[in-house]
């Protein structure tokens, strides 16, 4: 049974087609890298999945239940967590409170009180290594710290599927390795499927993803195990920037 | 806590301690010096100060137990807000130890102070709340000087009934407010009694900016004359837009607006011949002689003395209007009642006020057992060549009525409503 399934999903903005008839299929516990240059429709795809946009065509399923028209918060309850390309912390609140929000309203919502949520928060804050900052106001963090906090906040939601939008952009290689290692651990113990989205094929994807999906002009260009995908001529073309002849 | 110190300071500011036998008599007043009633409030302030001055300097003070004691006036600004009124009235009663409280302007604010005044059994005199309903509430300590709203247009109707028996079609168009509706009710009843035919009866909301729709319907009703108004701004608009729509009638009487100088300033000769009822106008013929004729006790300054005192009191060269006169007359009423009761005990004074009947520059004064003013009759004034002339009732009139009023076409040619 697929955890997430997209059927011919199309999202338009006025004239231009941001996502064009994309099929996607994610199994529980998989880790996938979605790759594509800026404007290739990655973020739009994320917004369709997490319910910020509803597609003009196609359907979205989560654990075989259709969620195409489900509001975002309901999807979060089902087990969809995400981070943002440009991080969006709740600026005036502390790191701890930010992460606690994730715990309170994620898949555990209704079954967890504030105190437990805060405990859970502490755990994930420690996991991403922000413990000494946990009482600082989120607005005052550095970009990298914010990204880490968002990862913690998303993890605290206890999702089944975690969508990360450029979670590693602008990070020092050392941090990336740490984060990747970390994500792998969590994935193992919590059986979370993870989708990392990046502009360029880089160590993150190589080290992290079992499967790579390449987006180009809103279409899914390639969907293959990492090793193959990297060798795929189309991909090479895209990343050498040669024009892609229409077929 | 900052507040505590401020409050302590506020206490220390509190007035002098009150000793058994009155060293003086104090009038307390939460005046409307700012907010939406600031204009009327300033007038009342001047009127009261003028008459207090007269009592102390000309009349020689208030006579109690054989000795004359000075009259004092203590007031604060209530900002025309109900929350402030209640707190100021209590402060006046308990801290400043006043002997009577004069209500703020408007029926609403007068009502908001009533429970506090009643609580302390304090005499509460109303010179700015015209609502008859105040006196249907069974308050013990409220006494009214201003005439009740229902009587505003009664005189006007009598006048037209007399001068032009053929004019039968009357249009009523008042503001949709507590006060104006009461005037309208009074006018409607009296009009029916006199056999007028009410061909139009509508109201318009407070703060209206365009009366055109109402006026075009009114025009279609073809009235002989129009009674209406509510406040100053809408009265001004009413007259102006009648001109724009070229609505010509034999007479137009607007409450609250037409009597004020600013009305003519804003409208110029469009206001020629327009009338308005008033509790008091400069020029009324009330005098000791008239009082003697009517067998009434006279007290207070003459009209011109009052105007002089009023201008001194405010330190400005503005004419007193009826807000000033009624507030001033209220001081005189209180003084007479205290002397009558030979005491400052509110209950005794209240009783004395019930039987009190007198005349001043303001005219007659007499209240019924509920405290409602019944002794004061209103006058009607008309704009004639840029001057306010009192045209009714005959005993108070300072000139002849100009009737019918000129059409707007004639006015545009510069015609004025001066009778030859």
């Amino acid at each position: 049974m697929a955890l997430l399934r997209l059927e011919k999903v199309t999202k338009r903005f006025g004239g231009l087609v941001a996502v064009n008839e994309v099929d996607l299929h994610i199994e529980a516990g998989e880790s996938i890298g979605i790759v594509g240059p800026n404007g290739s429709g990655k973020t739009t795809l994320y917004n369709v999945i997490s319910g910020v946009y509803t597609p003009e065509e196609g359907r979205v399923f989560f654990e075989e239940q259709e969620i195409t028209f489900l509001p975002p918060y309901r999807r979060a309850h089902l087990g969809l967590g995400r981070t943002f390309q440009i991080s969006r912390p709740f600026g005036s609140a502390t790191v701890r409170e930010n992460v606690a929000v994730g715990a309170l309203f994620g898949t555990l919502h209704g079954r967890i009180g504030v105190d437990e949520a805060l405990k859970l928060a502490d755990r994930y804050i420690e996991l991403v290594g922000l413990s000494e900052l946990k009482d600082k106001v989120a607005g005052s963090l550095t970009p990298v710290e914010k990204k880490l906090m968002e990862v913690a906040r998303a993890l605290a939601m206890r999702p089944k599927l975690l969508l990360m939008d450029e979670a590693m952009a602008g990070m020092h290689p050392k941090d990336i390795d740490r984060l990747v290692g970390l994500l792998k651990e969590i994935k193992e113990e919590e059986k979370i499927a993870m989708v990392a989205m990046v502009e360029h094929i880089m160590r993150a994807v190589v080290g992290f993803a079992e499967r790579v999906v390449v987006m180009h002009f809103g279409r899914k260009l390639v969907d293959a195990p990492t090793a193959e995908a990297l060798k795929d001529p189309k991909v090479v073309e895209v990343y050498l920037g040669c024009p892609l002849e229409e077929k | 806590m900052v507040s505590v110190f401020l409050i302590l300071g506020l206490i220390s500011l509190g007035g002098m301690v009150y000793a058994g036998a009155p060293a003086k008599v104090i009038i307390g007043h939460p005046a409307c010096l700012s907010g939406k009633y600031a204009k009327a409030g300033e007038q009342a302030l001047g009127g009261i100060k003028a008459c207090v001055k007269w009592v102390n300097e000309v009349y020689g003070g208030v006579k109690i137990g054989g000795k004359k004691v000075p009259l004092e006036y203590k007031y604060y600004d209530c900002e025309s807000k109900k929350e402030v009124v209640t707190s100021l009235i209590e402060r006046l009663i308990t801290v400043d130890k006043v002997n009577v409280v004069f209500a703020p302007y408007s029926s609403g604010l007068t009502l908001s102070g009533a429970p506090v005044a009643e609580k302390y059994g304090m005499l509460y005199m109303d010179h700015g709340g015209a609502s008859d309903r105040i006196f249907q509430q069974g308050f013990k300590y409220i006494v009214q000087t201003i005439g009740p709203g229902t009587r505003y247009h009664v005189g006007t109707l009598d006048m037209i009934h007399k001068v032009d028996p053929k004019a039968k079609r009357v249009a009523l168009a008042y503001e949709d407010s507590e006060f104006a509706r009461m005037v309208m009710r009074g006018a409607e009843e009296h009009a029916k009694k006199l056999g007028f035919k009410i061909v139009f009866k509508r109201t318009y909301p407070k703060g209206v900016t365009d009366l055109t729709p109402l006026l075009s319907d009114l025009k279609a009703a073809k009235p002989d004359f129009i009674l209406g108004g509510g406040h100053f701004e809408d009265g001004q608009l009413f007259n102006r837009q009648m001109a724009d729509l070229d609505i010509n009638v034999k007479a137009l009487s607007l409450i609250a607006a037409a009597t004020l100088p600013a009305f003519y300033e804003a409208l110029g000769n469009l206001a020629e011949g327009v009338m308005g009822p008033s509790h008091w106008e400069y020029g009324v013929k009330y005098s000791p002689e008239v009082a003697r004729k009517e067998g009434l006790k006279w007290i207070g300054p003459t009209q011109d003395e009052f105007v002089k005192l009023f201008k001194e009191a405010l330190g400005k060269d503005i004419m007193p209007d009826y807000h000033a006169a009624e507030a001033g007359a209220q001081v005189l009423a209180y003084v007479l009642a205290v002397e009558e009761a030979n005491s400052i005990d509110p209950t005794k004074v209240r009783a004395a006020l019930n039987t009190l009947k007198f005349m001043s520059f303001y005219g007659g004064w007499d209240v019924n057992e509920t405290g409602k003013q019944v002794g004061h009759s209103m006058v009607d004034m008309q704009w004639q060549g840029g001057k306010r002339v009192i045209v009714w009732p005959p005993e108070a009139a300072t000139g002849k009525l100009y009737y019918p009023m000129p059409t707007f076409a004639e006015k545009a040619k510069g015609k004025v409503a001066v009778p030859k």
Binding site: - | P205, T209, P213, D217, E233
Partner: protein, 296 residues
């Protein structure tokens, strides 16, 4: 009979509606560009009314001449308020700009009160009337209408034929994109705010041509509320939408009166007021982007 009155009221409504529309364009422009609702709108209308009043009574200038004067005064005020306050609030949470514009309105009212006092003033610019059997129209009202249309057209030309205008449009579409394309967004904000205020103040003059009395520091309130309804009718972010919204509003306000008058026992006037707000809520409920507003 009733039809004549209806026709008469609708004619009056159309004329007044034009003025209302023009009086709302500034509000919509400012919202469109800065995403700021000018809650102090009415106070700026009031300033315009006083400009007309003062020029007429003190210098004997006709309201026509007062329009450009008001435009200048308005733009000056606009720049002043923008650089002293608004600049700091662009992009800040809505509530801050709402409160700031609100406070600006109060300050204007109180300052004007200090200068002119609280009397209700008026001026008497008599240029005759035309009698169209169903109703009577003073020429002043007709001039007010023509003036409004003229200004609307000028704004349209400015928008579509000048570089600055085009830049403003691009910012309305997408301020980020505009910035990327090298538009000095900061300056466009200032300019649009100033022009928006300028239009609003000028509309104050036109309103006094329609209703030359009741000029006082607190006259603005009702116009703020009307402007909101009209702006929403026209889609809040679109100046032309606002203009046509004004026409519609004028027709509704005057037309519905004649109809409500047929209800026995009701107060038609208050009901027309109620209707206009009911419409406001209805539109917000059904189509928040406004009747004429197209884009999200």
């Amino acid at each position: 009979m009733i039809w004549n009155q209806l026709a008469g009221n609708l004619t009056q409504g159309l004329i007044l509606g034009g003025v209302y529309g023009m009086a709302t364009m500034g509000l919509s422009l400012i919202f469109g560009v800065l995403r700021v609702v000018n809650v102090g709108h009415g106070a700026f209308v009031m300033v315009g009314a006083f400009v007309a009043f003062w020029l007429f009574t003190a210098l004997g200038l006709t309201p026509i001449a007062a329009i450009p004067a008001a435009l200048v005064v308005g733009m000056a005020l606009g720049f002043l308020f923008f650089y002293s306050v608004m600049r700091r609030l662009v992009g800040a949470p809505e509530l801050t700009s709402l409160l700031a514009t609100f406070a600006m309105g109060i300050i204007l009212e109180e300052v004007v009160k200090l200068i002119f006092g609280t009397e209700y003033r008026g001026y008497n610019w008599d240029v005759g009337r035309v009698d169209l059997s169903v109703t009577v129209l003073p020429w002043a009202k007709i001039y007010a209408f023509l003036g409004s249309v003229a200004i609307a057209v000028l704004l349209y030309l400015w928008f579509n034929k000048t570089r600055a205008g085009t830049a403003v449009r691009s910012v309305v579409e997408d301020s980020e994109g505009a910035r990327v394309c090298g538009v000095n967004v900061g300056w466009i904000y200032a300019l649009s705010f100033a022009i928006g205020i300028g239009l609003t103040v000028a509309s104050g003059v036109l309103l006094t041509m329609f209703i030359p009395v009741g000029i006082n520091p607190y006259m603005g309130g009702p116009y703020t509320l009307k402007a909101f309804v009209i702006a929403v009718l026209g889609g809040l972010a679109s100046p032309y939408g606002a203009f046509f919204g004004g026409l519609i509003f004028g027709l509704i306000e005057n037309g519905s009166y004649t109809l409500f008058a047929l209800l026995p026992g009701a107060e038609p006037f208050a009901l027309t007021r109620f209707l206009s707000f009911a419409i406001l809520l209805l539109i917000l409920l059904l189509k928040p982007t406004g009747l004429l507003g197209a884009k999200e």
